[in-house]
């Protein structure tokens, strides 16, 4: 992202950012992204972000955990898979076959939860391209603190002229408009 020319609207209130996004989208401006220190309710809908498929991933991970949990117990505790080598574990005369399914419930349940949670965690980090030690692409050090940024590239403005864009976001409450140019190390301030 930092290698593109960018126009950045800076806000100090999430509601103002949300209104700007709604106004700009009505005028046909596609917005590259917004950066906020806290989740702003409905901003994803206003930006037109498609609902993530992470829920499907969570289900598949959970289902894998469920199957592996059951398989582990069938493999180690019953004779159905013909996996006993020498010592079947008969403890308290308890059954060694499908009759022990009720006592498989807790471990199967825990495996399902474990796989769902870690599966979704890992999928999230992959989708968000996050990893330990990654250098963040930060446009303003206050974007994780008390400032919200609205970011567009010049060609995303479409039919809206640059001065019109400025007046739309200023009237919606932007406190500052900047440009980011990868060729210059410092951002230009307006």
């Amino acid at each position: 992202m930092l290698d593109k020319k960018l126009i950045i609207g800076v806000y100090d209130d999430g509601d103002n950012l949300l209104h700007s996004v709604e106004k700009l989208r009505k005028r046909g401006v596609e917005i590259l992204d917004c950066f906020t220190p806290y989740p702003i309710h409905n901003l994803d809908k206003a930006l037109g972000i498609k609902r993530s498929n992470l829920t499907v991933g969570a289900f598949l991970c959970g289902f894998t955990g469920f199957c592996l949990g059951l398989l582990l117990q069938f493999y180690t505790m019953t004779s159905h898979l013909h996996t006993f080598k020498s010592w079947p574990m008969i403890i308290g005369g308890k059954p060694q076959n499908y009759m022990m399914i009720p006592s498989m419930v807790p471990v199967t349940f825990e495996c399902t939860i474990l796989f769902t949670a870690f599966g979704i965690g890992i999928l999230f980090f992959i989708r968000a391209k996050m990893i330990h030690g990654k250098i963040p692409d930060i446009l303003d050090p206050r974007q994780t603190d008390d400032r919200m940024l609205l970011v567009v590239t010049p060609d995303q403005l479409g039919e809206v002229s640059r001065s019109e864009f400025d007046s739309i976001i200023t009237s919606a409450g932007a406190i500052e408009i900047r440009e980011h140019n990868p060729e210059h190390s410092n951002d230009n301030q307006h």
Partner: protein
């Protein structure tokens, strides 16, 4: 912006977004206060006691404890259940209250989750060292081994417990860490020293707060809350099965799972109150952890206290109604036998004392809440002691009846786990934001 006409603001003091960051990052960015050093030193001394007493146990063996052939579970398993119970409030607050959209959770979930993790670490120490040979502590894991098909026994509730506790610990840790990432990024971007920039940068995983990531993040948080909710209920259910699936009079009851879960929430909230009443004044967080938060938690304490009280009475009734003389004796022995002092301590701390929270004054006076939270902690420790020791010391065979009292080593280990818990908590309050800044920023009322 979250505003409700009929409710008081969740954060007081007209905080702006930057005030939230400044207030919550202050302990991280400044040198620790004298109060912090005092608390940390005391905790660290207790942690040293833990290391010494555990070292002595490993060196000498379990003979250093007071447990015997009849009462084979004493303070160790009492403390284990006590700490696991305390570990329930964190995930309950962050998961169940998230699903119920209870926004008051946002100021307290971070520290409650941290408490969960530290409490589960303390809990795990007891069964691990009670096994005697701690270096074989990996044996409960289902690992292929050199003995043919000699696997762990999946019919045993003790093994279910291994799975439940380890899943609970790792999922809680993930949930906690995921919640921390945006806040770690805030600390990273405010950092002035290279060291801080590096470490917080490393653990923030490149978080930049983009709207797409927030969208995914919220979905993940919701799914984790969804799976953590049955998980948190399952953990103490399975802990209770350690007892309930045996044929010991006093343990063999079907009421145990719901009764243990209610007890766990009760004791967990007790400990959260103990910590937060102190933390809010030491770290100057009265505007974030308001009297309203304390009041809401005391209501949960009263409700769950009444639930465990009801369970105590139901147990008694069922013992009488069952007509089983062993069961009847077990309960009469609890109330009027040699350990009756423990039983009545439990009853007064858990059933009677929390009823004081019917009065608004009691729910809104921090020093009083603090005393009550200590009483709840004591009561819940005694509940586990009563269940374990009074049931075991007199069962079917009168010739094997015995008494049990803890040795100095057992007491030292328990005090030591307190040290471990509070040392971790003090380090947490120094190096990580104790309040979820990102979430609190979304609910502050005034931004002007």
């Amino acid at each position: 912006m979250y505003e409700a006409a009929i409710r008081k603001p969740l954060v007081t003091g007209d905080k702006s977004i930057s005030d939230v960051s400044n207030d919550i990052c202050r302990p991280i960015e400044n040198k620790p206060t004298k109060m912090w050093w005092l608390g940390f030193t005391i905790s660290f001394i207790c942690l040293t006691i833990f290391v010494i007493s555990i070292g002595w146990t490993v060196w000498e063996g379990i003979g250093t404890w007071g447990v015997n052939k009849t009462v084979m579970w004493g303070w160790d398993i009492t403390n284990f259940v006590f700490w696991v119970g305390i570990g329930h409030a964190g995930t309950l607050i962050s998961a169940i209250l998230l699903l119920f959209r209870q926004k008051w959770r946002m100021s307290i979930n971070r520290s409650a989750e941290a408490m969960t993790i530290f409490a589960v670490i303390c809990a795990a120490m007891f069964p691990l060292f009670h096994m005697g040979r701690v270096w074989l502590g990996y044996w409960p894991l289902p690992l292929p081994n050199a003995y043919g098909s000699l696997w762990v026994n999946f019919n045993s509730p003790l093994l279910w417990d291994v799975f439940a506790i380890s899943t609970y610990f790792s999922v809680s840790l993930l949930f906690w860490y995921l919640g921390l990432i945006p806040d770690i990024a805030t600390v990273r971007d405010r950092a002035t020293s290279k060291m801080r920039k590096f470490w917080y940068g490393f653990f923030s995983m490149g978080w930049n707060g983009s709207a797409r990531n927030w969208h995914r993040y919220e979905i993940v948080a919701l799914i984790l809350a969804g799976v953590s909710t049955p998980l948190v209920l399952s953990v103490h259910t399975i802990v209770s099965m350690d007892f309930a699936t045996s044929v010991e009079p006093g343990w063999h009851t079907t009421i145990f799972p719901p009764y243990f879960v209610a007890g766990a929430i009760f004791s967990g909230f007790g400990m959260v109150l103990t910590l937060l009443v102190i933390a809010r004044s030491v770290l100057n967080l009265q505007d974030y952890i308001t009297i309203g938060h304390l009041e809401a938690m005391t209501k949960v304490v009263m409700l769950t206290g009444s639930m465990v009280g009801l369970a105590y009475l139901t147990e008694f009734f069922i013992a009488a109604y069952s007509g089983v003389e062993y069961e009847q004796y077990a309960f009469l022995n609890r109330a009027f036998g040699p350990y009756s002092w423990a039983y009545w301590t439990m009853m007064s701390c858990n059933l009677f004392a929390p009823q004081v929270f019917w009065f608004k004054w009691a729910r809104t006076t921090p020093w009083f809440i603090f005393i009550m939270s200590i009483i709840v902690n004591i009561g819940m420790w005694f509940e586990r002691f009563v269940i374990i020791v009074t049931s075991l010391h007199r069962d079917y065979l009168t010739s094997s009846w015995a008494m049990y009292s803890a040795t100095i080593v057992e007491v030292a280990i328990f005090v030591g786990t307190m040290g471990l818990f509070f040392t971790c908590f003090f380090l947490f309050s120094k190096f990580l934001p104790v309040i979820n800044m990102a979430e609190v920023k979304s609910i502050i009322k005034s931004r002007e």
